[in-house]
């Protein structure tokens, strides 16, 4: 018996005597990224903000923008817009080369944009951002003219977006669309090195980089020699890894942890309010109880968005009211007057619509229950909070926490009553994606008009706004669009999206890319 005890003690001793060795070097930055299931690092194809988190550091765009949206020369030193607004002529830098040694030139710009509109590429984001693109004309080696079919008011912003990054045409030829996504080649400050599926992506600094936009602090190659993205889905593990010093920067840190770091000062934090579509829910107008606009309005009124947001985010995010977040250009403040928290009003609307309170607290009409099927892909806690509020006025909300594959199936089958979405975008032009009737999903055709709302007037407004000539016209059209959407109560904004980042306090130069979601790592350095 004693022998066994000794063995037990021995093993415990071996376990405890091994101390944990931390080998993180300040200039080898490890970034904890939230999603493990990255699929492509091709800027032309992706529509995922999580993939763009890496892409933004490997590619440059023709026009560069800081986190405020201010515009600076990027790969193009200057640009001219023709008076009819159809032609954009770019003068390109002549000292830039891709990671594979290919010279950056007008042909590369043409190859990139042409391939985006090629249906074979299967672009998810870029093809929409490129708008009414017609063609690119190579005027000389370092002058390229991009031509649009019609006036495209969002063009300048579009050229700053990560999706329109210029990719290496030789790499494209060599690797094909699929291969390129697995081993991307750009002109950015970091080069792709290695990708272990579901685990990590490793980048190394581009030693030849000498074309940083002027709003950056540094010049020449980045001080970060190795940049590793650890893909840690689990929030608490991500935070624990940050606190243990295993990673230097972590994204999507829970608000409670942000609050703790802010008060202790152990870690630095930075929060970005993301522009684009807030965290919101589409209400399906073609099936179920939300076909009735008054039921939709009642649903809106049942939610106390301000309290809900402060309860869940502890002050790190603001409630949202309109179809686009308040930080997006052309935001209309009139949104905030719609649908205040008013459970009595909601009850009255439902009563009027014929939904009478049943004995089990769920309303009924003609023997049918006021049931809402709510597949929830993002933020289950928020979905539960919505469920809890709506429940109080007599909605029976069935939340199912789903993965993307299941959500896709439901979208194709039109088998949902509401769906949540959030979208990072720099321009209100994004509204055409979820609200134009041509974007109603069909079996096999994945689109984003999940409210399935078709209205010719709204379609016209969206098209007009896209090619608005002046900022005033643009603002006015987008105001009308937002008003239309709010009147119809098809899109329930809940809260602004926030990117909460915490990092090692020895570091400085941690900054957001435009849109306040992705992090530009070029400037990161030791204090």
């Amino acid at each position: 018996m004693r022998i066994l005890l000794k063995i037990a003690l021995g093993i415990t001793f071996i376990f405890s005597s091994l101390s944990f060795i931390n080998s993180a070097n300040a200039l080898d930055i490890v970034f904890a990224e939230d999603r493990p299931d990255l699929r492509t690092l091709d800027p032309r194809i992706t529509q995922s903000r999580h993939e763009e988190m890496l892409i933004v550091n490997m590619f440059d765009q023709l026009i560069s923008a800081d986190s405020e949206g201010n515009i600076y020369p990027g790969l193009a030193t200057s640009w001219d817009v023709s008076s009819d607004g159809l032609e954009y002529t770019f003068s390109l830098r002549d000292d830039v080369s891709f990671h594979d040694g290919t010279k950056f030139n007008a042909a590369a710009v043409k190859a990139t944009f042409d391939s985006i509109v090629d249906p074979e590429t299967g672009s998810q984001g870029a093809v929409d951002i490129l708008g009414p693109y017609k063609e690119t004309i190579v005027i000389d080696d370092f002058t390229a003219k991009v031509v649009f079919e019609r006036r495209y008011g969002s063009a300048i912003t579009a050229f700053t977006e990560t999706e329109l990054s210029i990719v290496s045409p030789t790499a494209l030829d060599k690797l094909g669309n699929e291969g390129f996504g697995m081993a991307p080649v750009g002109t950015g400050p970091f080069m792709f090195k290695n990708w272990e599926a579901n685990k990590k992506v490793e980048l190394v600094r581009n030693p030849d980089y000498n074309w940083a936009p002027e709003y950056m602090d540094g010049s020449g190659p980045s001080q970060v020699a190795n940049l590793t993205y650890r893909l840690i889905k689990d929030t608490s593990t991500r935070v624990a890894a940050l606190e243990a010093g295993e990673v230097d920067i972590a994204e999507l840190v829970p608000p409670l942890d942000m609050r703790r770091f802010d008060s202790s000062g152990d870690l630095s934090t930075v929060t970005g309010t993301v522009s684009g579509l807030p965290y919101s829910a589409f209400l399906n107008t073609t099936t179920g109880v939300f076909q009735d606009v008054n039921v939709r309005k009642a649903f809106f009124h049942s939610l106390d968005r301000v309290k809900m947001t402060s309860d869940l985010f502890f002050g790190y995010a603001e409630a949202a009211f309109g179809p686009i977040s308040s930080s997006t250009p052309s935001y209309w403040s009139g949104n905030e007057d719609y649908y205040p928290y008013n459970p009595e009003g909601a009850a009255a609307l439902l009563d009027e619509a014929g939904w009478k309170m049943g004995s089990d607290g769920v309303r009924e009409k003609n023997g049918e229950k006021l049931t809402v099927f709510f597949p929830c892909l993002l933020e289950p806690d928020t979905c539960v909070a919505i469920q809890g509020y709506a429940n109080k006025v007599g909605f029976d909300v069935n939340v199912e926490v789903v993965m993307k594959a299941r959500q896709d199936e439901l979208i194709f089958a039109n088998g949902y009553d509401m769906l949540v979405i959030r979208w990072v975008s720099l321009d209100p032009g994004v509204l055409i994606i979820p609200f134009h009737s041509r974007n109603i999903p069909q079996p096999g055709k994945f689109k984003f008009n999940w409210a399935r709302y078709a209205n010719a007037e709204l379609d016209q407004l969206l098209e007009d706004a896209e090619s608005a000539e002046t900022q005033e016209v643009k603002d006015d059209l987008y105001m009308q669009i937002q008003k239309h959407i709010m009147d119809q109560a098809i899109f329930l904004a809940i809260h602004d999206q926030v990117q909460t980042v915490a990092y090692n306090p020895d570091l400085e130069g941690v900054r957001f890319a435009n849109g306040n979601w992705q992090m530009r790592m070029y400037d990161v350095r030791k204090k």
């Binding site: 929030t235 608490s236 829970p254 409670l256 942890d257 309860d311 869940l312 929830c376 289950p380 806690d381 979905c383 539960v384 909070a385 469920q387 809890g388 509020y389 429940n391 109080k392 069935n398 939340v399 199912e400 926490v401 789903v402 299941r406």
Partner: protein
């Protein structure tokens, strides 16, 4: 029955089964009378402050939505117990039908049936449950079905060998002699005679079924929010572990104690009914 009182006595005199029995009884009563016992509505948000620590008002604290954890656990007992029982019932009924049928008909049917059982044993049962969920989709009842389905080979194998023994008894021969139909013999004569074994293996499997279902709910495949199933509660309390450990500790504790009680009962039941031997034989 004369034996019954002996079994009961043997059963109650044991501390373990007494503890298990009492705890289970408390849980069952709690589940039945949940509306009377729970101080708050399990699904009402903002019944109290968010993530409040345990206090007299909120015995086990509150969760991120300000819901009373104690009330949710009390209601959760309804889910956690009934899903386990239903899943085991499903498995044992299907397993009994399958096992008894192939054992009684015998010959080629038995060989093929046993082979099917063997093949299903080639899949670890949790893997089988996951596969079934992959096909029929997530949801509490789907998971109950999946776990029950995955337990069929195990049940069928034991019941088959028990039925084989009973089949050889002269009273079954007597039934044939009297011209009884196959189904009557299988389910009116063989089944009652292997019933004690069925009860024991069902009880012994119940704890495992409860854990499996809770595990699948924890993985997000089973109960959906806001259902207060204990595994799902643990899963949603996980994110706030550091700031509100009570949202994770108490549901898990109740799950653990319930499963332990069931296991204690299963152990004692098998000893009390002395069916262990036949069960062990069935496994070989």
């Amino acid at each position: 029955m004369k034996n019954f009182s002996i079994i009961l006595k043997r059963f109650l005199l044991n501390k373990g089964s007494a503890f298990g029995g009492i705890f289970l009884l408390i849980i069952i009563i709690g589940a039945i009378f949940a509306p009377l016992i729970a101080p708050y509505n399990w699904n009402e948000v903002d019944t109290g402050p968010r993530l409040a620590p345990p206090s007299w008002d909120f015995l086990f604290g509150t969760d991120i939505h300000g819901r009373d954890v104690f009330s949710r656990i009390v209601y959760g007992a309804r889910y956690s117990l009934s899903v386990g029982v239903i899943s085991v019932l499903f498995g044992i009924i299907a397993g009994s039908i399958f096992g008894i049928t192939i054992a009684y008909i015998g010959g080629r049917v038995d060989i093929i049936g046993s082979r099917i059982i063997d093949v299903m044993f080639g899949f670890p049962s949790f893997l089988l449950s996951l596969l079934v969920v992959a096909i029929i989709g997530v949801g509490l009842w789907n998971v109950v079905f999946a776990v029950g389905l995955a337990s069929i080979p195990h049940f069928a194998r034991i019941i088959r060998s028990a039925a084989l023994q009973v089949k050889e008894q002269p009273y079954i021969e007597a039934c044939v002699n009297m011209g009884f139909g196959k189904i009557r013999i299988m389910f009116n004569h063989i089944l009652p005679n292997i019933f004690p074994i069925i009860i024991v293996i069902a009880t012994m499997d119940l704890g495992g079924a409860i854990i499996s279902i809770a595990s699948l709910s924890f993985l997000g495949l089973g109960a959906q929010p806001p259902e207060p199933e204990w595994g799902a509660m643990l899963s949603s309390g996980r994110e706030y572990m550091r700031y509100a450990p009570w949202t994770m500790i108490y549901p898990g504790l109740f799950l653990f104690l319930t499963v332990m009680s069931v296991n204690l009962l299963g152990d004692r039941l098998s000893i009390a009914l002395d069916a262990r031997q036949s069960v062990d034989k069935g496994k070989v």
